[in-house]
Amino acid sequence: MIARTLAAVLAATAIACSATAAQAAQYRIDGAHSFVQLKISHLGYSWMVGTFDRISGSLSFDPAAGPAGQKISVEIDTASVDTGHAERDKHLRSPDFLNVRKFPKATFVSTGYEGDAKGGTMKGNLTLMGVTKPIAIAVKKVGEGKDPWGGYRAGFEGTATLSRKAFGAGMNLGPASDTVYFFLSVEGIRN
């Protein structure tokens, strides 16, 4: 009886270890250290800057596997848009802009990577306000290594632009304010 239990425990441990080895390149996104920052021209005279405070997702970072080993899937809580101004954020959540009741999530799912372990272009489909379009994110690795709490982390930054018109636009903010510039900072914790 004891021998059989021991054998079962050993077998389970072996399976768990092999699973860990296979998923060594899998990371979950640390929402507390990941940011989606946006900026958009105000009238052509200055920048309006904001962030989406809540993002989640997973990524695969496996330089040994080549471009096929680099993948990312991100989910953004659109209601978490924060530009530091209560009425503007209320307006941004409304149907004039993000329409967060109807479209509570925005997602980016990569479809292909070109580049090396230091950086490149991550292509994928962005779904925003119910519209899905391919976009390209210029990415580079910021750093990776052990963290002080027993985990292993890798961080990346990226930039992308999109046209509001391409995603349904909403309220007209003037000719200078169609392009939205994104800066992404994503930190993954290895599973």
């Binding site: 209601a79 924060d82 530091g84 101004h85 209560a86 009425e87 954020d89 209320k90 309220m171 007209n172 903010l173 003037g174």
Partner: protein, 188 residues
Amino acid sequence: MWRNGSDRYGLVSISFHWAIALAFVGLVALGVWMVGLSYYDPWYNDSLALHKAIGIVALALAAAKLGWRFADRKPGLAVDLRPHERAGATVMHWCLNALIVLVPVTGYVISTSEGAGIDMFGLFEVPAVLGKTEAFRDLAIDLHYYLAYGGIALVAVHAGAALKHHFVDRGSTLKRMLNPRPPTGRRG
């Protein structure tokens, strides 16, 4: 004259009633108008600034009105009202009393939900006192919207009832709210 009598409203109560009526109807109209403005409209920013500042004035008026309501004696409803009219009027008055507080309070919660105070016509600022809580903020946004529109519907019923009593029933209710010394009305 100033204070309420047993069967009549004094000047203070009458002034509060009409000032708040004007503020409530005006603020809802301003609110409906301002949310439809284009970004390039000259009033795009000022309309909201005015809505917020006048809203705070309306809240102060409502607080003072309710304070006066409990401090002064309460005149009875007009003697010429039927029982179901008395019941309806009492319920309506409490709904309106709640609305004139809740609508501006929820507006205040929305505008101060990210820590900024409310600028009062450039003279001083009403500070934000509540912390940043999204659930509370979203509830306030919904309540502000539905209570304002629902409130206007109740105001229409209230005003319609007053006009009906005045013109159809030849009652005294509207006169009581216009004149601190109304002639006593009797249903004919």
